[in-house]
């Protein structure tokens, strides 16, 4: 089996704080791989290193055969990403956001139109294509980001907590969609989530990360067997302990949000 993502001994330090500590893992081509961990475990930091946004302090990464540090353009072409925080231009319409993405990724003009229409239908936003994004609900924005991330036919799709803040219907719909994409287009999916039952349902393999260390990898079944538990959630709690985490990362985010509102 070919590995489409490889990480060897990857470490990320922010000053003297180690956010990700010497982790290694591989993701197989065509697999749905879930990265699970409590708040502040290092999931987003790992995704940022995989997607060229942060340089690892140490270690080697390969993304579809390319090094995200030295072959940025090739690495970037290989993936689509839905970030944990919003990344749309609110002052543009849904369609304009899509067109901007298509131009950034040099999607050929003839493919662009059909693909754009297909994807907006797929996420149920075709009727709203001319609305400004700032008029969208959280769920609609998420769906648009997913459509956008697929516009350039990426081989790998990164989803960083894509269902946070969505209602159960939308969450279900989204995972069905991800499953379908994976099956029909063979896209490799690398996702992080807080919701264990979602990972249990959709992921072929999971890695559990805590305090920057990977504490377990395997199929959901393997992890349940290894910990002698019935659900992935119980397995997760057994592996990471019951202590409530410092919500440092989220508190920081919250403050930033508040400041934004203040300023508007």
């Amino acid at each position: 089996m070919t590995h489409i993502i490889e990480a060897h001994g990857v470490t990320k330090k922010f000053k003297d704080f180690t956010a990700v500590n010497n982790i290694s893992f591989t993701v197989n081509k065509g697999e749905i791989f879930a990265f699970l961990g409590p708040n502040g475990a290092g999931k987003t930091t790992t995704i940022k290193m995989l997607t060229t946004l942060l340089r690892p302090t140490e270690g080697k990464i390969k993304l579809d055969g390319h090094d995200p540090v030295h072959e940025q353009s090739d690495a970037r072409r290989s993936f689509g990403i839905v970030f944990q925080d919003p990344s749309l231009d609110d002052e543009l319409t849904a369609q304009e956001n899509m067109e901007l993405h298509a131009a950034l990724y040099s999607v050929p003009k003839d493919i662009r139109k059909t693909r754009l229409e297909e994807l907006l239908h797929f996420v149920d936003l075709w009727d709203r294509k001319n609305s400004l994004v700032k008029e969208f609900s959280g769920g609609m924005k998420r769906r648009l980001e997913i459509a956008r991330s697929l516009l350039h036919h990426p081989k790998i799709l990164f989803l960083d907590e894509p269902t946070i803040g969505l209602d159960p219907q939308t969450r279900n719909h989204l995972w069905d969609y991800v499953g379908k994409l994976n099956k029909e287009e063979g896209i490799t999916v690398f996702l992080t989530t807080h919701y264990m039952e979602e990972a249990d349902k959709v992921a072929h393999r999971v890695a559990i990360i805590d305090h920057g260390n990977i504490v377990a990898t395997g199929t959901p079944e393997e992890l349940k067997k290894q910990t002698e538990t019935k659900t992935l959630e119980e397995a997760f709690l057994k592996l990471t302990g019951n202590a409530i985490r410092d919500e440092g990362a989220n508190a920081m985010e919250g403050m930033r949000q508040a400041r934004k509102m203040w300023r508007r």
């Binding site: 940022k48 997607t51 060229t52 946004l53 942060l54 340089r55 940025q72 353009s73 090739d74 970037r76 072409r77 990403i81 970030f83 925080d85 919003p86 990344s87 749309l88 231009d89 609110d90 002052e91 543009l92 304009e96 067109e99 901007l100 993405h101 131009a103 950034l104 990724y105 040099s106 400004l132 930033r256 400041r259 934004k260 300023r263």
Partner: protein, 248 residues
Amino acid sequence: MSTIYILWLRQLKRYSRSKARMIGSLGQPLLFLVALGYGFGPIYEKAGQGNYIDFIAPGVIAMSILFTAVFSGIEIIWDRQFGFLKETLVAPVSRTTIMIGRTLGGATVAMIQGIIIFLITLLIGFRPESLALLPVAFVFMALIAIMFTALGTAIACVLEDMQAFPLIMNFLVMPLFFLSGAMFPLKDLPGPIAVLTRLDPMSYGVDGLRGALIGMMEFGYATDLAVLVIISAILLAIGSWLFSRIQV
């Protein structure tokens, strides 16, 4: 190429959709034009210097370009806070290309703002000396716009959020403006002020623009052009370098 175009277009769309911003940023130049034009005009004219409105019209046009350009450049901070910046940073295009697209977009917006002020000065009675020199005036407007958009971008790359914005307005943009000769002639100034005005790149933009519009100059076109082009190139290079190091 299409990247530069789409990022340029994005900024024009954002600008045209934000009427409040467009109208709001006309307020200050208009205030200067009216308050100073009619307030100081009589003194200036008594001193035998000619029509003060004619004198400050180019200065006020340059000022509105300066403010809009710095602000457009600084907009990157917003893109960073609202998250859109990430979308451009993971795209398979070089950061220099992104930087160029943004700078041209911001500079175009500043240019449009300058042209609107120019039209308003015409309404209140300003008459450029020669129509043939209008293209030269536009070249200087564009150079001022590019130079200060690049400056704004470079500053934005090193700031985390908008909290330092008033600091930048008060200790950088306002001095750039007041020391530029936009409001008073640079001739016969006392020593230290004369030095400061000559260190201010904005002075050369104002000088070129005023030369083209009313035929009054201190440094001459060659000096003005050389200074503006060189400073713009330096600021663009610094901005690109800082932008390439942004991590989110």
